[in-house]
């Protein structure tokens, strides 16, 4: 089989690799090429060297979007992973000991489904859904309140003017991040559950026999053994924090820019420049900048969170 093995591998890889090069690598290369030009998207591009990149840094729309990404980069992974860890711990190891083995809380099976449901919904639908949930209502104006405002009003928070989650420039970005967290948690609950179930139960039982509390179990055993998975989750969420295009475009006012341009994100600016204005070259330059930012983040994350893998 030795002589046939290479041909076999190449035969199977040929088609996928070709598709990958054609539809992923080649457009990347073309984008890099276009980024050095001034192009209106129709006639031939005229090359203008590093002008686009020079203009990027003085463009308040670009720097504004980058600021928003920094906020999302810090908030999204932190909040999502914390919540996901907590949930998956509860669902796998948070319950009572039955037959000598730790189980999850009651109804874990149902919770797993509920937590994963947001992942199943299309992003655009989630955007429309939360636009309604976040809606600032007004009795006198005949505008119905969203669920969130209705609940807050019932509890007494909000006063005469309901809270404009998507229309207040201080709240809009956080409202969007909230939806991103809501959507992402389910996936990481499943991911961490899978990782936790692969940890041998004897470790937990041994620790429990020694009198370890639930919290100690979590911080001293579960967390260290989950480090690899956490690293993966951190990087994926960081990359997701550089996106947010679909949500922002559907939920946020003014075409996604938000009140006082407070929710602009780089993919949105790229899209605006490429399709709503004749600035495809400039948009490509933004794309290149985004590419390097994402790669840098991933590289740094992997370096910083690297540990020796634990064999068990």
């Amino acid at each position: 089989m030795r002589q046939g093995k290479n041909r076999f591998i190449i035969g199977f890889l040929a088609a996928p690799v070709t598709l990958y090069i054609l539809f992923v690598i080649w457009p990347y290369i073309q984008t890099f090429q276009v980024a050095f030009s001034r192009w209106d998207g129709q006639s031939a591009p005229e090359y203008n060297g590093l002008d686009n990149f020079k203009n990027l840094f003085s463009d308040s729309k670009f720097t504004g979007a980058v600021e928003h990404h920094v906020v999302m980069l810090i908030a999204l992974p932190l909040v999502t992973l914390t919540i996901a860890l907590f949930f998956s711990f509860m669902l796998n190891l948070g319950g009572s000991i039955q037959g000598g083995r730790l189980r999850g809380v009651r109804f874990s099976g149902i919770y797993k489904v509920i937590f994963f449901l947001p992942q199943v919904l299309a992003v655009a639908i989630i955007g429309v859904l939360f636009s309604t949930v976040y809606q600032q209502g007004s009795k006198s104006a005949g505008v119905p309140s969203g669920v969130l405002n209705a609940v807050l009003q019932a509890v007494g928070i909000g006063g005469k003017d309901q809270i404009g989650f998507l229309t207040d420039s201080n709240l809009a970005l956080w409202s969007v991040i909230g939806v991103m967290v809501w959507q992402a948690v389910g996936f990481y609950v499943v991911l961490f559950s899978a990782a936790m179930t692969s940890i041998p139960k004897d470790l937990f039982e041994a620790a429990a026999l020694d009198g370890a509390s639930r919290a100690t179990l979590f911080f001293k055993i579960t967390l260290p053994l989950l480090r690899d998975t956490l690293q993966v989750g951190w990087i994926y969420l960081g990359i997701a924090a550089f996106d947010g295009f679909a949500l922002v475009q559907v939920m946020s006012i003014n075409g996604g820019e938000g009140p006082d341009n407070s929710t602009s994100v780089l993919p949105l600016e790229i899209w605006n420049n490429a399709f709503n204005q004749p600035k495809a070259g400039y948009a490509a330059a933004m794309g290149v900048a985004l590419f390097f930012m994402t790669i840098t983040f991933a590289a740094i994350s992997m370096r910083v969170t690297r540990r020796e893998s634990i064999e068990f």
Binding site: R38, D40, G41, Q42, S43, N48, D51, N55, K61, S131, Y134, Q135, Q136, G137, S138, S140, A141, G142, V143, D161, Q162, G164, L166, T167, I253, N254, G255, E257, P259, D260, N261, N272, F275, N276, Q277, P278, K279, Y282
Partner: protein
């Protein structure tokens, strides 16, 4: 472009002819670029017109298929599928028409134009995501429509097409719809309460007080996606107050154009109206949501164009709701006194130069400009096409009738249309943002004007953006 003084007893034809001349001049600088496009001879216009053949002046092949792209927006696309396309098919039974209704015109069509494959013949280049006209022209994608304007008209072959239109034709754009913009209200609601459309600002605020006392919100606009309706209105008031040159300066990115006293007064007065008589909740709603509330008598006045009635025709409103338009009220010392109205020709179509059936495209446009075409458009889309006398004898919907009446009353007092929102997207987005801040964010006119002057200056200084201009208006 000289404009002769309007004679007494003005009719709509003269009004709109005058508007058309302004629109011709005020449109994007495509006419300037037509020289560039043809001189670089990217593609020779190979459609030869034979004006002695009244039935087929462009020599359309009887069996050549036609690809028509219609913008799916306020006018929808029934006017094409049930109106113009059947008319074309009657003239050329062997031709298969491929109809495409697209909302994101630029996003969908740009790749096709770029690659040179599957280029549509006729394109209704409209909507938020329309393709950039300057770029299209410089790439030689647009046919010169002069041969269309010189061709014999469908209804009367002894007349040229250009003579049957209310608005003069442009070299590369056919603007099909005569559009009016103003304040919309429910005729029945006002009649029931004994309210009349206000002529002066004092009458307007007094009326708003009465409306508010009745538990109805006097004024609103949709902040989420249609803030531009509101700044259209602010500039409209500014033009009315200080003359149409105010709008020309804004379009031309003149220094301090936004801080012109007329603009500042208009911004301040409209800001006050919104803060006192509107509601923040509308900031988070899209235009159809606010328009529905308007149709349910929850809102009294709503700024929009005459597409409004047709756009909302399938939405259930209050019983007996009748759309009516009224001009913007005087602010005091207006150069263009009440009832000056903002009218122009909009909804631009073009015929592709590099598509498979360029002759068919011209013929399709010619058929649209016939009386039958204009009537079909009115019946399906509820708006007026630029064809003279097309609506005579037709039963008009209340909204359209009120637009016709308002146009008659306005006579030659015409407020011109804005262009910068199509030319400079950044300025459009910033204007929307500032409008929302002014009206729903408790802002003030000073910051509105200075922020927009700043943005205009930034665009002016950016050499990578192609600038367009409008000539001065006396």
């Amino acid at each position: 472009m000289s404009q002769s003084p309007a004679p007494k007893g003005l009719d709509r034809r003269t009004l709109l002819q005058r508007v058309g001349l302004t629109a011709l001049v005020a449109g994007p600088g495509v006419s300037l670029l037509s020289a560039c496009a043809t001189s670089s001879s990217k593609k020779k216009d190979n459609v030869k017109a034979n004006n002695s053949d009244a039935k087929n002046p462009f020599g359309v092949k009887a069996t050549a298929p036609l690809d028509v792209v219609i913008f799916m927006g306020g006018y929808k696309d029934d006017y094409a599928t049930k109106g113009h396309e059947p008319i074309y098919k009657k003239a050329f039974p062997g031709a298969a028409i491929k109809h495409e209704a697209i909302t994101a015109i630029g996003t969908t069509l740009q790749p096709r134009f770029n690659s040179g494959t599957n280029i549509p013949d006729v394109v209704d280049n409209s909507g938020t995501a329309q393709m950039d006209w300057t770029a299209l022209a410089s790439a030689g994608q647009l046919q010169d429509l002069t041969k269309l304007w010189d061709a014999p008209s469908v209804d009367d072959p002894s007349k040229k097409v250009r003579d049957t239109g209310m608005v003069a034709g442009k070299p590369m754009q056919m603007n099909y719809v005569a559009t009016t913009f103003g304040l919309w209200y429910n005729k029945k609601l006002f009649a029931d309460n004994g309210w009349t459309a206000p002529k002066t600002w004092d009458e307007f605020t007094a009326l708003c007080d009465k409306i508010k006392a009745k538990g109805i919100v006097p004024f609103a606009y949709a902040g989420k996606n249609a803030a531009y309706y509101m700044y259209y209105g602010i500039i409209q008031s500014a033009n009315k107050l200080g003359g149409n040159q105010v709008g020309v300066d804004v379009d031309n990115l003149a220094d301090g154009a936004w801080s012109n006293p007329a603009v500042k007064t208009a911004a301040q007065k409209w800001g006050e109206i919104c803060q006192k008589y509107s509601d923040k909740a509308y900031l988070g709603l899209i235009h159809t949501q606010v328009q529905t509330l308007h149709k349910q008598n929850k809102i009294a006045f709503y700024p929009s164009g005459d597409w409004l009635e047709n756009e909302m025709k399938d939405v259930k409103g209050a019983d007996g709701f009748e759309y009516a338009i009224c001009p913007y009220p005087d602010m005091g010392g207006d150069k263009l006194p009440y009832p000056a109205l903002r009218v122009s020709a909009g909804e631009p179509f073009f015929a592709s130069a590099k598509s498979p059936n360029p002759a068919g495209a011209l013929e399709y446009l010619r058929q649209m400009l016939s009386k039958a075409g204009a009537q079909a458009f009115f019946q399906q889309a509820g708006s007026m096409a630029v064809v003279k006398g097309a609506l005579e004898g037709l039963q008009l919907t209340p909204g359209t009738q009120s637009v016709v009446d308002a146009q008659k009353a306005a006579g030659s007092s015409v407020i011109t249309w804005l262009n910068f929102d199509g030319w400079y997207k950044d300025l459009d987005m910033e204007a929307r943002n500032q409008t929302n801040k002014l009206c729903y964010g408790g802002g003030n006119a000073d910051s509105f004007c200075s922020a927009l002057d700043k943005e205009a200056a930034k665009i002016k200084a950016d050499s990578s953006i192609t600038k367009q201009t409008r000539p001065a208006i006396s």
